[in-house]
């Protein structure tokens, strides 16, 4: 029987990856249903029924349909609180508040410049779109300031919200992974605490599984 949880979107999408790593952390089996964005599938009427903004991912779980990767991740932690990584969203209101604070910091401060850089440096070349050098410079500077704050924070605590890996750290994985495959990775490597943190979070089993899902399988030999 197919898993009841369905994630719609291509595995290379940062937002899709965010949802997949959450499901893996919580031991929730799921089906990934690909959406061919190159062919504009995400803008077609059938897809717009489940994600009216024409973005990925969309998500279904036993009759509940949700979109927005961070909302989906929160829902997964809410519904599956007692399985998998139980501390992922904290075990009391104060822990949860600290996680929410750093989740918001990710969404408001880290995500905007890092998303632009991921597009410019990783996807634009693949799509044969000309890179915007000014935009890259501006956003590298913004990201550097954000990582300075992170470096100071991670000097005081092992992970962003405290001593344990949480949804706040997880939310950074997709963008940071792409950036660490480019020259912008220097910004992570030249900040001691950020480098240490990145080494730990990116080595989690759940994230390694997502990376496998993002790489196409090697062609089978005859």
């Amino acid at each position: 029987m197919a898993a009841p949880v369905k994630v719609y979107g291509p595995p290379f999408s940062t937002a899709v990856a965010r949802v997949m790593v959450t499901l893996l952390e919580k031991d929730v089996p799921f089906q990934l249903l690909p959406v061919n964005m190159a062919k504009g599938e995400h803008k077609k009427p059938d897809y717009l029924k489940i994600q009216p903004f024409g973005q990925v991912p969309a998500f279904q779980d036993e009759g509940v349909t949700i979109f927005e990767s961070r909302a989906i991740s929160r829902y997964v932690c809410d519904k599956y609180a007692n399985q998998g990584n139980r501390g992922l969203f904290g075990t009391n209101p104060l822990e949860k508040a600290s996680i929410d604070q750093w989740l918001e910091a990710e969404g408001q401060n880290f995500n905007p410049p890092s998303s632009i850089l991921v597009f410019q440096l990783t996807f634009a070349p693949r799509m044969k779109i000309k890179q915007d050098e000014n935009l890259i410079k501006q956003n590298e500077a913004k990201l550097a300031s954000v990582l300075d704050v992170y470096d100071r924070r991670l000097n005081e605590s092992r992970y962003l919200a405290g001593d344990d890996f949480t949804l706040a750290d997880l939310s950074h994985l997709p963008n940071a992974q792409y950036l660490n495959g480019t020259d912008v990775g220097e910004l992570f490597r030249t900040r001691k605490n950020v480098e240490r943190w990145w080494g730990e979070v990116s080595n989690r089993e759940s994230w390694k599984k997502v990376l496998e899902m993002q790489s196409p399988p090697a062609p089978k030999k005859a």
Binding site: P52, V64, E68, R70, Y75, P93, Q101, A105
Partner: protein, 214 residues
């Protein structure tokens, strides 16, 4: 215990927190941070908010920043104490509340913020705003608002039939769009969206925020 809110009465993110605290009946003191002189970037505020932004709160020893994290915390506190529930009652309702909160962050706020920056803030600083960028953002926002209109044709509020933080979180930036942004027609032209706006912006909690001295 009276919550200390660090911010300014006229800034969107502190307004989000204050509206929520009024809605839930949690008393607070606003401690003014002078945004015009850049006080938010001074060392003392950086201890409260390391990104140099407002608001932040202090509730006894408990400290928190990011307006949307703050409203989730107090909404959770109120709901768990049997008070007003602004989070949603069922798992599905809570999911829809979170969904529309994220839509505001990713699809709504960035467009409005960019337009208000070009139309109001830069001119105030003696710079010329980028009108092409405003036109581009406005076009995108029209499409976004069409999705809201469709949603609000199916339910009274964004999360369902009850007012929640998903609606509340939209108050400050929608007001900016309509007033300083001069684009009230974007809202008024869409029947359900307009009715929703009239409803949420006439709530006593929002009127109290609007009445606070600038």
């Amino acid at each position: 215990m009276v919550v200390k809110v660090y911010g300014a009465t006229y800034a969107a993110c502190p307004q989000r927190v204050m509206a929520c605290l009024f809605e839930l009946g949690f008393q607070f003191d606003l401690i003014k941070i002078d945004l015009q002189s850049g006080e938010q970037k001074q060392p003392q505020n950086l201890l409260r908010q390391p990104f140099g932004q407002v608001p932040s709160i202090e509730d006894g020893d408990f400290k928190l920043f990011e307006s949307r994290a703050i409203i989730r915390y107090y909404a959770g506190k109120s709901a768990s104490q049997g008070g007003t529930n602004l989070l949603g009652e069922t798992l599905e309702e809570r999911a829809l509340v979170e969904q529309w909160m994220e839509v505001e962050v990713n699809n709504y706020n960035p467009l409005i913020y960019t337009m208000v920056l070009q139309l109001v803030v830069l001119p105030q600083q003696g710079q010329v705003g980028d009108m092409e960028l405003v036109k581009d953002c406005k076009g995108k926002l029209e499409k976004v608002l069409d999705v809201y209109e469709e949603r609000l044709s199916k339910s009274k509020y964004l999360g369902g039939e009850r007012f929640t933080i998903a609606d509340l979180t939209h108050l400050p930036n929608t007001r900016f769009l309509m007033e300083e942004g001069g684009m009230e027609d974007l809202i008024k032209r869409r029947k359900n969206l307009h009715n929703w706006w009239l409803d949420i912006s006439s709530r006593p909690s929002w009127l109290k925020v609007m009445d606070l001295p600038k």
